[in-house]
Each structure stands twice: as C-alpha cells, then as structure tokens.
C-alpha cells in the first residue's frame, strides 16, 4: 500500500533469442543480447546514476552521469548506450566514477534552485535521487554564476505547470512528446547553455501550443519542471492503487495515487498491457468530476416530474420504487418493465442489472448503450467469424505493415492506442484512411497517410465492396488461405458478386465521390503490402448499413488472408470503457452472457437453475423499441444505470416522448443527467474509484477496477442493484464483486478461467479464457474461426433513406473530440472545458460562404427531425456538402437533429448521416430555451431531512 515510484530500468526492454552473461559489481547477470549495461545493472538490483535515461524512451546518452568502468575497455563509457557483451566485467561504483559523477552533478546543481523542501517534486525527484546517490556535498562554483533561475512559471495548462528554472534540459519531455505520444509539440530551443525547452513556436505557452495534454512529458520529467497542479496543491501521494481507467475502450491502467481519502493524481502504470505506460488527457487528468459539487449523494424520489426532488433514505427510496414496480407488473405484466445496463459500470454491475431485469422483473427488455454504437460489430463479426469481438490485442499493431483505418479518429477517440499506431507508422507501416473528414492521422508530424478516401457519408459499403472488386478482379485474393479457412462455395458466390462491374471503383465513384484510382491503389496496398490490419470505429457502425459494413470489412480481411496472426485482423475501436464487457455480460434483449441466444434452451435452463427463476424465452425490446412501446402504452417502467439516453440517443423529441409516457423512470447515476428530467426515482451512483470489479476493453482484456476510496453515496453500484433486487423480493447475498465474477465464469463458457484471484495475480486476461485457451486469447481465430469456416457474406450497397434535397442540402456527420467523452457528463465537469466548452459545427469554406457564415457565426442547424443552434468553425477538414459536430454538450443537443433511421440488423442509429440545412441565427432556438427551462425546473431539490 505504500507509495513508491515504479521501477525504472533506464532503457527499454530488449527482446532477443540470445542471452548474454556478464559480471556487474561482482554479480553475474544474464540478459537478452542488445540490452544496455544500464538496464542489466538495474535488473540485478543495482542503480547506476542517470538523468537523461528512462526506460520508456530510447537511450540518449547526454547527461554523462551513467558512466561505468568496464575491465579491458578504455575510458568510462555511458552505460545507457553501451550494450552488454559476453564476459564483460563492469564496475558501477569506483572512486574514479564517484569523482566524475560528482563533477557532473555539481554542474547541474549549480544551476538549480535550492528550494527542495518547498518544491512540489520533493521526494519524488530524480535530480534529488541522483544527488543523493552521487553524494555531492559541496558546489564549488557557488550559485552566483550565470543561471536560469527566476524564470516565469507557465501555468497555462489547467493540469500541470512548467517551471523553466527547475528544468535540467535532459530532453526527456521532448522525447516523450515525440516517441511516446507522437505529437512533437515540444522542442529544445537554442544550443548549449542557452538551451531551453519550449512548447511550440516562440510565444506559445503549453495551452496555446499543439500539446494535447497527454501527460507523457510530465511523466518523463525527472524534476518538478513539469508537475501536476494537484501535487503542487496537495503534496506527495502516500499510497498507490492500480486500477483501470473509466474513459474509452482502450482501458488504460493507472496508479491512483492517494493521500488519505484524497486522490492526488492518476499516473499511467507501466505494466498495463493496454496502455504500456501511456495516457491521454482524460484518464490522466480529467478525474475531478468524481467529487464535483453537482454529484448527487442521496436517493431522491418524487411523485411526478413537475415536482421538485425529495431526498429520502435508501430504505424509503427502495421501498417506494419496489412498490411501483410490483404494481406495474401486476397491472401490465412483466413485459411492461425493462432496463438499460451501463457500459461505464463494471462487468459485475452490468451482469447484475440484466439479471435483475430477466430474473427479477421477469422480462428480457434489457439493452445497453452498445445499441447505439457497436451493436453492428457484434452482429457482423458474429456472422463472419463467430465471435462478437475484435480479433487482436493492441500490441498487434506493432507488427502491422498496412493499416486500413475506417470511420475512426483514434487520436481523438482512442488517443493512447493512436500513439502506438503512430509509433508503428513512424517505423514505416503504411496508412489508408477512409473517412469523410481529413482526420489528424491523414497528415501530422512524421505521419503521412498513403491514401485518404474522403467518401460521401453513408457510402461505406460501396467503397468497401469496390475495394473487394479490385482485389478479386486483379487477382490479389489469397486463395490458399480462403480454401483452408473459409467456405469456398460462399466465397465463390461473393467473388462473383463483387466482381460485377457495378461494384467497380469507376462505377461507384459517382456515389462515393472517391476517385476510382485512389480506391484501386488503396486496395492493392492493403492486399499486397504485408500484414494488413483494419481498425474501425463508429463511422462504420452508426449507419443504416452498419452491420453490412462490418461484414464487408470481415470479407476484406478474409479475402486477403489478413486474419489469425499478429499484425493483421479486424479491430473495432470500442467507445466507452466497458462497452465490450457490457455486451459480453448479456445486456442485449435476445441473448444471455457470452452471446448465446435465448432460444437455446440448454443455456436458458442453466441460468434458470443457477438463479432459481424461470426466464422468458422470447427476445425483449431494444432501446428504440422500448421508447416506441412506451408511447404505445405497453412499456411502463425503466431502470437506467449510468446512461443518459435523452442526450446520447437520436431524435431527442422521440426519446423525451417515450420517457414521459412511462409510469416509472429510475435513473441510477452520478449526476442529475438529462434523462433524469423524466425520472421520478434517482439512485445516486458511485464512481469507478469507489468500487471493485472488472472492465473489459476493446481487445477483450478483462482488467481489475479497484476501490481507492469509499463510495461518497454510501454504496457501490452493484450493492444498489442488489438492494433494489431484494426490495422486489429477490434473495441476493453478494458480499464482493468477485462472487459475481465467479457466477459469470460459472455460466459463461468464454469466461470459465476468469477469477478475481487470477486477475490479481496476472493483472489482466483476454477472453476466451477456458479449457481450450487457459492463458486467454490475445489473438483470435489462429487455428480456425470460432464458427468453423469463415463466412463471406454478400453486402449490397443500399443507400440510406435519409437523402439530401433542396430543403436539407448538406450531410451532417457527428463524432467526438479528444478532450470530451460521450455526453460529457464527466469531462464537462473538469477543466477539460478549456479545450472544448461548446459543440461547434465544422463547415467547408464554400458552404459557409454560400450561407453568409463566418468562423464563429451563430448558426441554426435543422433537419427533418428538429433544430438547434451552435457556432460555426470554417475548415477544409470537411468536404463541401458535409458538416460535422459533436454531441458532448446538452446545451446544443445535437441529437435533436438526428433521425430515427438505423442499422437494418441492429437498429444502431444512423448518427453519421443526417440531411440538414444550416442558416445564420442570432441565438439559441426556441426549443433550446424551452428545454433548458424544463431541465432547470426538473432539477429542483427540496432539501428537507428525510423522515427516517
């Protein structure tokens, strides 16, 4: 539990089949060939002084502190740049080295302030460490010479300060910004004594620079030159708990560094297999929402939504709610009840919510936010391969030669993975981007996409089928792979289909707006450029042909043999932290955990026996169907854990109407979210810092979430669900989430080998983990597809019903940005708002000019469904005819504009294509004003003591 920095071996780990044995300070050490002397010494417990070296960055050899003596070698080589040799005899501590190091250290210290005791890095400072190691006792030069003291601190970044006088110009921040993050925002200005670290151009500060606040520089800084403001304020942490980030689907592991009940900082954990020691601005810094004043800590009820909330005891809230549920069930039957599990909650919590709905409420009306993001991934990959998940681990990207990126913007949506992808691209892998917008990865420092296919929104299937056309017709298909691994007859049907001239790039160019030659070149590169890996995001799934697009992607991987090994595969970049897990846990209305359809009576009976209930064998309602049924009067009550469907789901008017029509809306969340405006029961939730459990990231990695503080609301979410279940007559007795995990493992064939104890021991596990894959499955479909033979599915391009026309001539597509997350409930309650305090509308200069709109103008954005207003940003990142916005702010409510069109197979909404018109405006729309007034009214809390 104590606080200690993670060990630093000085230089990166080297992998080699050859082992080298040498002697360091009299001890024999054996390490892989190519390892540095510095690392070898560290691995056997020594610590050669160092300042410019750290094991997250390549060796640099500048500080001259890590000198060693090697018997038979001349001089005193730098151990960070000297590889080990067989039989080498190294001395790391000798009087000669002691003297040399004192000389080096003397120079550093003579130009460094002497305020250790009031310095924010005190006791967590490598200069201090090395001064202690070196044992310098006197600075001959004094402190009166030319120095860098007294320079202004750059406090512009909301999360960390840059104090130039504490800087020792080791370049670790500069190298981290390049090597680790790949942004190259920092530079060393000047030479020699005049060298100084600079963010961006002269005159820039950190906030105005290209810096993306990932924290890599802060992490790399050996002194307090770059230091978290929270440490400046609170002092050094006293203990550290390893846990998993609750933002995106990358699932970074962090050390939550604590002082008493105070979280002082989140620091990326080097042993985390998803993030490998890296982080982004959200996970690293944007955790302040956890104790934001808006957070609701007491249960509240009210008789109707026009009344103020009443704070009540847990007992009262639960008995009130249970009575309502029982009465509705009596009157309208079990199928009038339902609920939504949360992709932000743990696997265990999600499992309990669907268990409550199926086993307690008695209906299968359970759905989850994956409905509106990656449900087509589950459906499509299950059809093609037999598993509803991506095929690779993140590390796999380092073996990719060609990366095909479709409808995803990793630098914003999955920044930590994007940094690894960029690292691989800088090493020489080729990149193809299929996206209507010119996302950052198309051109950024040291990255230059080979091909960008700026397709018309809604034409994914057309583009992918035309790529398949090129591969098949130009003879680039990997027939050996297909014959061995896929159904050959199905392949031939499919090959005939794609070979049709109607699927040629030239024929489809009119529809897709992508030059045919670009498509052909991209197709050839993917098919022949070595390991081809496809990464995709919501730009694929959130379409009326989302599922078809996923299957078209699977077809491309199979036809080129890019599946079943490292460096290839089909990789959905999942949105929310536990969206993979919430799907795995049986959150969909038609299936039980592990993606087993309710109609499978053997599976159903296993659950019925384990739970002691009988289950409805018919599928339940999906979220949009629930809302429809609510309007129709056959769906009356909903329990929503940790989601805000009013803001996140499309066609806000319709969502509001559905919620308003229900008798009981139970919102279980941290904040009074937009959905809560229509709720009469509010159960305060707990943050990921306040509970134990597991999250499953986009690479199927099950990772522990650990409680670092007690729940401010009194209970972890799984406890609240259990209390609610017991209030309606269940008899649950879980005392720790590990018991729920045991139940999941018992009931789910892909989780057989998972347990809390094993996760504690091994850190994480990638499902399937069972008899067949006892160590888990970093790469899937290695020796064959889960479904047996890979299935080629014919995917015909069917244009969406949403069409532009004279009234709505532009296509709106939506996405998100780095600093905000989903509906912004968390990130809007942090200093991240300095980067994004409102949703804006990106628009091409031509379109803007045609409408008399300039950068910063207020504009009215209208569709057939609704309208809102927001500011315009004029940019050529979007093509003419396309506009783009985000949905992070309730003040904008972009979803009032989106339609109820959805994926044919899964009803995943077509967020990415809405025909709109944009016109000048002079302020918020009438609807916005009404909405805000209603929301404010609905959020009133009558602060009276509960009548306990």
């Amino acid at each position: 539990m104590g606080y200690e920095r993670q060990a630093d071996f000085g230089t990166p780990e080297v992998k080699s089949d050859q082992q080298v044995t040498l002697t360091i300070d009299g001890r024999e050490v054996t390490v892989p060939a190519g390892t540095t002397v510095m690392r070898a010494a560290a691995e056997c417990g020594g610590s050669i002084p160092k300042l410019c070296a750290t094991d997250s960055l390549n060796q640099f050899g500048s500080c001259r502190l890590c000198l060693v003596e090697i018997e038979g070698a001349r001089g005193t080589p730098a151990s960070c740049t000297t590889p080990v040799g067989p039989g080498m005899v190294v001395h790391t501590q000798t009087p000669r080295l002691e003297k040399l190091r004192k000389g080096v250290m003397e120079l550093y210290i003579s130009d460094h302030p002497l305020d250790c005791l009031t310095c924010s890095a005190n006791n967590d400072c490598e200069l201090q460490d090395q001064a202690a190691n070196v044992g310098l006792r006197d600075v001959r030069y004094g402190y009166q010479g030319e120095n860098h003291m007294g320079q202004d601190v750059d406090t512009s970044n909301p999360y960390f300060d840059f104090s130039p006088d504490k800087c020792i110009v080791c370049s670790r921040c500069v190298r981290a910004c390049g090597e680790t993050q790949g942004t190259f925002a920092l530079t060393v200005d000047g030479r020699g004594f005049a060298s100084k670290i600079s963010a961006g151009q002269s005159g820039d500060d950190f906030l105005s620079s290209e810096c993306v606040s990932c924290g890599a520089c802060v992490q790399a800084c050996p002194t307090s030159a770059l230091m978290e403001k929270s440490v400046v304020e609170h002092g050094k942490p006293e203990r550290a708990v390893v846990t998993t980030c609750a933002y995106c689907g990358v699932g970074c592991t962090f050390r939550a560094e604590m002082k008493g009940e105070q979280l002082v900082r989140m620091v990326p954990w080097k042993d985390g297999k998803a993030n490998r020691g890296h982080s982004c601005v959200k996970g690293r810094f944007a955790w302040g929402y956890a104790n934001h004043q808006d957070r609701i800590l007491k249960p509240m009820i009210r008789d109707s939504i026009d009344q103020p909330w009443q704070e009540v005891s847990w007992e009262e809230a639960l008995s009130y709610t249970a009575a309502k549920i029982k009465s509705i069930k009596e009157t309208y039957g079990a199928r009038a009840l339902g609920g939504i599990t949360s992709s932000r909650c743990t696997n265990e919590e999600t499992f309990l919510v669907q268990k409550l709905i199926r086993g307690g409420f008695g209906s299968n009306n359970v759905d989850t936010c994956a409905r509106v993001c990656h449900s087509p991934t589950g459906f499509g990959l299950s059809q093609a391969f037999g598993t509803s998940a991506g095929t690779q681990d993140f590390d796999s990207v380092m073996d990719a030669d060609v990366i095909l990126l479709i409808g995803a913007n990793p630098t914003d949506g999955h920044p930590v993975f994007a940094s690894r992808m960029k690292r691989r691209l800088r090493q020489g892998a080729k990149l193809i981007v299929i996206d209507p917008r010119r996302i950052d990865l198309v051109r950024s420092p040291h990255i230059n996409a080979e091909h960008h296919l700026p397709l018309q929104p809604g034409t994914n299937v057309a583009v992918l089928t035309s790529i398949a056309h090129v591969i098949v017709t130009e003879g680039l298909a990997d027939e050996a792979f297909i014959r061995e691994r896929c159904d050959w007859d199905e392949y031939q049907d499919w090959a005939r289909f794609v070979s049709d001239e109607k699927h040629s790039p030239e024929y489809l160019e009119a529809v897709t707006k992508v030059p045919a030659e670009t498509v052909r070149q991209a197709a050839r590169l993917y098919a022949t450029g070595g390991n081809g890996a496809i990464y995709y995001g919501l730009g694929v799934t959130e379409h009326s042909q989302g599922s078809s697009t996923v299957m078209a992607i699977a077809n491309l991987a199979m036809v080129t043999g890019n599946i079943g090994r490292r460096g290839v595969g089909v990789n959905p970049l999942r949105g929310q932290n536990n969206v993979q897990g919430s799907c795995d846990m049986g959150s969909f209305p038609h299936e039980l955990s592990g993606y087993r359809h309710l109609s499978d009576s053997a599976t159903r009976q296993m659950f019925e026996k384990d739970w002691g209930v009988s289950l409805d064998p018919e599928p339940g309602l999906r979220i949009p169907n629930m809302l429809d049924a609510a309007v129709d009067g056959t769906f009356r009550a909903i329990y929503i854990q940790g989601e805000d469907i009013l803001q996140s789901d499309p066609d806000t008017h319709h969502v509001a109407a559905g919620l308003a029509a229900m008798d009981l809306v139970i919102v279980h969340d941290l904040f009074l979210n937009e959905t809560a405006n229509y709720a009469t029961v509010f159960l305060p939730g707990s943050t990921f810092l306040e509970k134990d459990g597991t999250f499953t990231n986009a690479e199927r990695r099950i990772q522990p979430v650990r409680k670092v503080m007690e729940p401010a609301n009194g209970y972890a979410d799984w406890e609240i669900t259990q209390m609610l279940a017991n209030a309606i007559g269940c008899d649950w007795n879980y005392t720790h989430p590990s018991e729920i995990l045991d139940e999941i493992a018992r009931l789910t064939p892909t989780f057989t080998g998972v347990s809390w104890e094993r996760l504690e021991r091994e850190g994480s596990l990638q499902w399937p983990v069972n008899e067949k894959f006892p160590d888990g499955s970093p790469i899937m479909h290695v020796d064959g597809f889960v479904r047996g033979k890979g299935k080629f599915v014919v995917t015909e391009y069917v244009p969406t019903d949403e069409r532009t026309g004279p009234r709505f001539p532009l296509l709106l597509t939506t996405g998100r940005i780095l600093s905000q997350y989903n509906v912004g409930a968390q990130t809007r309650r942090t200093a991240n708002v300095v980067w994004h305090h409102e949703d804006v509308l990106e628009m091409h200069p031509t379109d803007a000019e045609n409408r008399g709109l300039a950068d910063g103008s207020w504009a009215r954005l209208a569709s057939r469904t609704g309208e809102t207003t927001l500011r315009v940003v004029v940019t050529d990142r979007v093509a003419p005819g396309v506009v783009y916005t985000t949905f992070h702010h309730p003040a904008t409510q972009a979803n009032v504009v989106t339609t109820d069109y959805s994926d044919w197979a899964t009803n995943c909404p077509e967020y990415k294509v809405t025909a709109v018109q944009v016109t000048p405006s002079n302020g918020p729309s009438e609807w916005q004003e009404e909405y805000n007034a209603q929301a404010e009214r609905s959020r009133r809390i009558a602060h009276v003591e509960p009548a306990e």
Binding site: F497, H597, G620, D900
Partner: protein, 75 residues
C-alpha cells in the same frame, strides 16, 4: 396508424432489402429468421396483424412464413 406500426413496416422492408442480394428464396428465409431472433413478441404481433400488401415482396413472404410457423406451433 401509429408511428410504431409504420416503423415496423420500415424495419421489415429494410431487413429484406439488405438481404435481397442473396437471391429471393434465401433472402425470404434470412429475413424471417432475423425477425424471429430479434423482435419482441409485441412487435411480431404488430407486424402479423398489419396489412402485409404494403411490404416489399421478400418482407411480405417472410412475415407470412413466420405467421404460418406461429400458428402451427400454437396448434
């Protein structure tokens, strides 16, 4: 006609359209299976009770097949 009813028609047609490239017979079977696997009983009842003539041929045949199956298993 409620908007829900209209949505059910649109959903059935959309499924059928996206499956039609597989050829008529297979498309009808696949559409029927899809609706059987993913639709709630009240949605199925809703489309069964609807005027099927407004649907595309594949969708119509699929629904008719499902209705027949349902009557058979109820019998």
């Amino acid at each position: 006609m409620s908007s829900t009813q209209e949505k059910l028609r649109r959903m059935a047609d959309q499924i059928a359209t996206n499956l039609q490239a597989r050829g008529h017979e297979e498309a009808v079977a696949a559409t029927a299976e899809h609706i059987w696997k993913f639709w709630d009983p009240r949605m199925k009842a809703g489309i069964f009770a609807d005027d099927l003539s407004v649907l595309t041929p594949i969708a119509r045949e699929a629904i008719e097949k499902l209705k027949a199956d349902a009557q058979q298993s109820a019998a």
